[in-house]
Symmetry: C2
Subunit: 451 residues, 2 copies
């Protein structure tokens, strides 16, 4: 006799959506979450010492074509605010800084031409990727045999052009291009509507933010599930056979017909499975490292960069403050800058400790915005590599060889065990929208086979 | 008050050597092992139904310059028997099979020339690798930004030449060249005295075997440690602070001044560390996948291949039986062939189940040795990916980017936690000799700082 129809491991967006859809179909479900909170990689935090101000230390942005996310926002009556604001953005490559407006050019003409030709070639190659089965598409083996860095060196003819693509890789995957399979980069870009779309503000992947914070999506979903979400219950073992599954945490075992594991690969591999998983799966989770991000928020008494007619958006090739956005909430008297420290910069910064990290990040801002950047009224940082129950953000990426050799194990159920999480999404892999898609897919999978 | 001076996690060769050296220095030690046996990746098994015959399902070969291993063999009075035997070996590439003697040429003249020029270039590049700090050597970043497959395609001018290097990669790392950083391949080859040395029988890495089996080294070491080796105690948690370490398994906690973790990276990452490990370490273990090997032994009533004046050594580009050796024990009336199924072939074979695997492997042998190969008197296979407490052999390899970004975390102690295992060796990384070296290094590390 099973306790419930379905057990969901992980109360991030993917897990909560899975549970929500299973419940909506009239079946019973329980969500087991390791942390003392829901939300996973969505996390909206209050700013210490600044009343009423919250920042998104996790996922934050909404694209117009995040159709699933937009539907959830509408369902819960949550509003968005556009990312793009008045003023010029700054782009700094190899010591040269350029101001540019939305319509203007961030790069000099020669670099622009180089980036354009390479972008066309990248886009053409991405067309070949089969999102449902990237291991199968035209040239898949060839694309998967090399790093994205190898492609950059071969394709770009200018040093700044190469730097541009390296920056793009860090900005979207939070890791450097030598760590990533070209096939994975092509897949990831196509999954999110193209490489340019991923790095675009107005109309792109950073089009808008959720007023009040992204974690509200998780919290509203959890509210609907009530007592069926059980916090502080890290899953240690999943026993599965022809009769059902038994999921073990410190508080004991829960049984069900099906289990949906929604935690990221590096965590899924820490769970003991009895009997063991198929070889492809065992290999795959050994080959999906996570990116590295320290997300920082500097809060100022006012958005002083407006005095310089700057928007607060900065892209720079000098770490640690390479990617900066103005994320001041609408109507706030404060000015808030989000600094995304990614890849190797994040690994280094995390090691140096919070005080040193704060100084380095602020110094990076001051470089572009002047000395006023050194004196925020508050500073919040979240190092996702240090999070025991995430172990790196934004998500997992695949090094060369993994997609074509063991990629088919990513979404394939193993008996009564199903897999969700944004890494398993075909569309918007790595984003909240992909997490929702994966939860809907997993829910459909289990609902189709429940007795 | 600590229970012992040092706790060693894992009773493979590295762990047992660590404990042996710590004890020899007069300090107390306990070894915690997950399995019900010692030896880790050394495993000598009896052949069912064939009295007195054993086979090495794990590490088997000894090189003349395995100085540390040779010293242990001498210490325990263990003898070796040469690998090379009478008769010709077979090399089969792209449907063309060539017989060759020890002195002869396995490849046609054009391919030989291509392989030679590429080997010279590989060797020259390997000269730049700093074995103690591969992330530091000349060109390290450039070598680490690409796959070994990218190097093969760029360097070899003939299809057979490319296939040769692909086969070599599978034979030494049990994974395909697209999965491996060029820098790692250069490091690994240099670590073992050069790429040619690694694939050579007489005088090379496959020079000889241990009479009675390699696992005896582990067993003799364990005999010396007696009750201080505790089996069936998988370690779940390591708590470490300024005062000491506390290592938890199901039977409770053991405390010590220092702990040496000797299990391979994919297993080390399943242990919970409190407080958590540094970022570089967290990232590194996410980026050290294991190779895949199914090691098979076909036992025949006699070595019938001698009738054909063949040595039983076969190298072929057609799976699953790509690498074959005659491993008949000296004085035996039987004939024993070892078949090493590696990389993707091993993943596929493991999935198909033992009966099907046996047929496929034997069919591969029959292709070269005739129909008599289909009828062994016994067949033993060991699928190392399926081993819960190993999760893949021969060892872990590094994909592009890992060495230069987080490689320095591989051997660096974290407070009171030290690391050993063949993956941490500078010389003979991936071999038993490297496991011994790593144990000696780790023992020296802890002995130098014990109170």
């Amino acid at each position: 006799m099973a306790n419930v129809d379905v057990i969901v491991v992980g109360a991030g967006v993917a897990g909560l959506v899975t549970a929500d859809r299973v419940r909506a179909a009239g079946r019973s479900v329980v969500v087991l979450e390791a942390r003392d909170r829901v939300g996973g990689r969505t996390l909206t935090e209050p700013v210490p010492g600044v009343d009423g101000l919250v920042v998104d230390s996790g996922a934050a942005w909404v694209a117009p074509d995040h159709h699933l996310l937009c539907a959830e926002l509408e369902r819960f009556g949550l509003e968005t605010t556009p990312q793009a604001g008045p003023g010029d953005a700054l782009a700094s490559l190899r010591g040269k800084t350029r101001r540019f407006a939305e319509a203007g050019r961030p790069l000099d003409p020669v670099t622009t031409a180089d980036v354009a030709q390479a972008m066309v070639r990248f886009g053409a190659a991405a067309e070949h990727v089969d999102l449902a089965a990237p291991w199968r598409g035209h040239h898949a083996a060839r694309y998967d045999a090399q790093t994205f860095e190898s492609w950059i060196r071969r394709t770009c003819v200018t040093p700044k052009g190469r730097d541009y693509f390296r920056l793009v890789c860090e900005a979207v995957l939070a890791t450097e291009p030598q760590n990533v399979s070209l096939l994975h980069m092509l897949f990831y870009a196509r999954s999110g509507g193209g490489l340019l779309h991923l790095v675009t503000t107005g109309g792109g992947a950073q089009d808008a933010r959720v007023v009040g914070g992204m974690q509200q999506v998780s919290e509203r979903l959890a509210d609907g599930l009530g007592m069926w979400v059980r916090l502080q219950e890290p899953v240690t073992t999943i026993v599965h056979d022809a009769d059902g599954v038994s999921v073990h945490s410190e508080s004991g075992a829960t049984t069900a017909h099906r289990v949906v594991v929604t935690v990221p690969p590096a965590l899924a591999s820490s769970i003991e499975y009895l009997p063991g998983l198929p070889h492809e799966r065992t290999q795959l989770v050994q080959r999906m490292p996570h990116g590295s991000v320290v997300k920082c928020h500097a809060v100022y008494s006012r958005p002083f960069w407006h005095d310089l007619a700057l928007s607060g958006e900065i892209v720079s090739d000098e770490g640690p403050s390479k990617v900066v956005f103005d994320t001041t909430p609408p109507g706030s008297k404060y000015g808030v800058l989000t600094v995304l420290v990614e890849g190797e910069d994040a690994l280094r910064l995390g090691v140096r400790g919070p005080a040193r990290a704060r100084t380095e990040v602020l110094r990076g801002l001051a470089e572009h915005l002047g000395p006023r950047a050194m004196d925020p009224v508050a500073f919040v940082s979240r190092d996702w590599t240090a999070e025991e129950w995430t172990r790196g953000c934004y998500g997992a990426h695949l090094p060369p060889g993994a997609w074509t050799q063991v990629g088919s194990a990513l979404r394939a159920p193993v008996g009564r065990i199903h897999w969700a999480g944004t890494e398993t999404a075909e569309r918007w892999c790595g984003y909240v929208d992909g997490a929702i898609a994966s939860g809907e897919r997993a829910a459909a999978e289990v609902l189709a086979v429940l007795p």
